[in-house]
């Protein structure tokens, strides 16, 4: 069991994801890391949670903590799962590290009734300024890798992501952007703020998706 303090300590984007999940649902967390979200959801929302994680350290930590997690990766292992096997499939801060983000995204909404995807926004003004003024590949507090050692090979902006969803026939049920201070903005299409300004001001985004 996690303590209150640990619960509060889960990443802000994970909190936003957790809020989108109905209690008691079946959930698959793709790229679950050390299992912080799964652990939180298991205990706080009685979710039947499973995970996939690439790193052996992450997997061992998760299974040692009693979580149902397998070693695998989003590009290769999602094909194995049957259609609509889960209520939610979560991809938190992992999309940019996949080889084929479009296939992965299509798999998420195939396997889950809903997909929840969070990613760093490369349209964020600090990222743009970094490249414009410094002339070097941007590094931010959430993206601290050097260009040559980064696992993040497919960056996108919020606008890019919305375009990809449209072309894949994926419906955006809800959208949230997150700025540097942890403040959120509703960017659900048709209801929320203008995408262009959010694309400039949001450091991260979280989307609830489903197949149209």
């Amino acid at each position: 069991m996690m303590t209150e303090q640990q619960k509060q300590a889960i990443r802000v984007d994970l909190q936003l994801i957790a809020e989108m999940v109905e209690p008691g649902s079946r959930l698959l967390d793709v790229g679950c890391g050390d299992g912080a979200l799964l652990d939180y959801l298991n205990h706080d929302k009685q979710v039947d949670g499973r995970g996939i994680e690439l790193s052996a350290e992450g997997v061992n930590a998760c299974v040692s903590a009693g979580l149902s997690v397998i070693q695998g990766d989003a590009d290769q292992d999602l094909d194995d799962y049957p259609d609509q096997a889960f209520d939610y499939v979560v991809l938190g801060q992992t999309l940019q590290a996949t080889r084929e983000p479009d296939n992965v995204l299509a798999n998420l909404v195939r396997i889950g009734k809903y997909a929840i995807v969070s990613f760093p926004n490369f349209g964020y003004w600090r990222v743009r300024m970094g490249l414009l003024l410094d002339g070097r590949m941007p590094r931010t507090s959430t993206l601290s890798y050097e260009w040559y050692d980064t696992p993040n090979i497919h960056f996108c902006t919020i606008l890019d992501f919305v375009d990809l969803c449209t072309s894949l026939g994926i419906n955006i049920t809800r959208g949230l952007s997150l700025n540097r201070d942890g403040k959120t903005k509703d960017i659900t299409p048709g209801f929320g703020s203008g995408m262009r300004s959010v694309n400039l001001l949001g450091e991260q985004a979280v989307f609830l998706l489903r197949k149209t």
């Binding site: 061992n60 009693g66 997690v69 397998i70």
Partner: protein, 396 residues
Amino acid sequence: MNEQTSGQKNEGGAPLVSDQDVGKQVTLGVDEPLRLDCGVELANFSVAYQSYGELNADKTNSILVCHALSGDQFVSGINPVTGKEGWWDLVIGPGKLIDTNRFFVICPNILGGCMGTTGPKEINPATGNPWGLDFPVITVSDMVRAQALLLDHLGINQLFCALGGSMGGMQVLEWAAAYPERVFAAVPIATAPHHSAQNIAFHETGRQAIMADPDWHGGDYLNQGSRPHRGLAIARMIAHITYLSEPALQNKFGRRLQDRDAITFGFDADFQVESYLRHQGSTFVDRFDANSYLYITRAMDYFDLAERHGEGVLAEAFRGVDTRFCVISFTSDWLYQTAESRAIVKALNAVAANVSFAEIESDKGHDAFLLEEPEFWKVLSGFLEGAAERYGLAGQ
């Protein structure tokens, strides 16, 4: 049912381990014979088993441990036959990872074995002599069905967990596929959903070594007063190589010489590795029956979970199974490689079963599951703890 607490006499042949204490023993198949896969009906057969800890009032705290090819029921404490620690004493016992103060641990000797459960060295009631090759060919499914009868006898409807490595893992998989409602959690370790051509090839080499020994006498050695020690020892030497990794052999022995400063230009055991293998072979024959070795290796070769339970599709073998799985493999295991475990995980995912899977970094080869591997133990312990929590078994 007829329960004995001490060993039985082997009246037909030379003294064997069954003259010694094989622990608890029960006669099963009394009211109704066990129908084996080969078609033969086996009645009044013995199953020798050990149990550790106490079954709780709800009968919900039992863990079935399935042993491997050369294992036996003495999983914890001192094995009375060898005088050494049980084969998983590191993991199972009071206060240990699988705490027998908390769990009721059952480990039966497999059907076809040679430690008190009916097998080819026991007496065929029809002839009064040891079965030898008249013993019916058994399968992993037969072993598991015999274990299910043992649980019936013990009044255990559902196991909290079935676990085992190597052939023990095959039994665990068979348990989950054949009796999913009787297994809450399953831990198949360092195992495979079927025997590969390479697995069968190694086993066949071992069997040929036994059968080429003139003392084997067409399997009738117990009636002839002999034992195919040389053949069985060679089979064990071959198999032992497959249990270790190349780096493990290299680190342990390298090209170091055995009690000598120079090679002897002969065929004595010049190298330490030769001496080690000879020792492994010669100690094995003291505790293992050669015909049992033939039957058990055959059962492993015949094992094919997809064929048996899924019409050739492994995922179908697991459809509708609610068991929680924890699949574990080791990086340097080349006998049952991680790819085999991954195939199991892939099949479980295809039916959205509840599965954990960890590949443990180890240079100890297939035998890693029997040895001190802290990372493996952490994973195993965490899985069992999480499963126990969901099963409503209170922590210590």
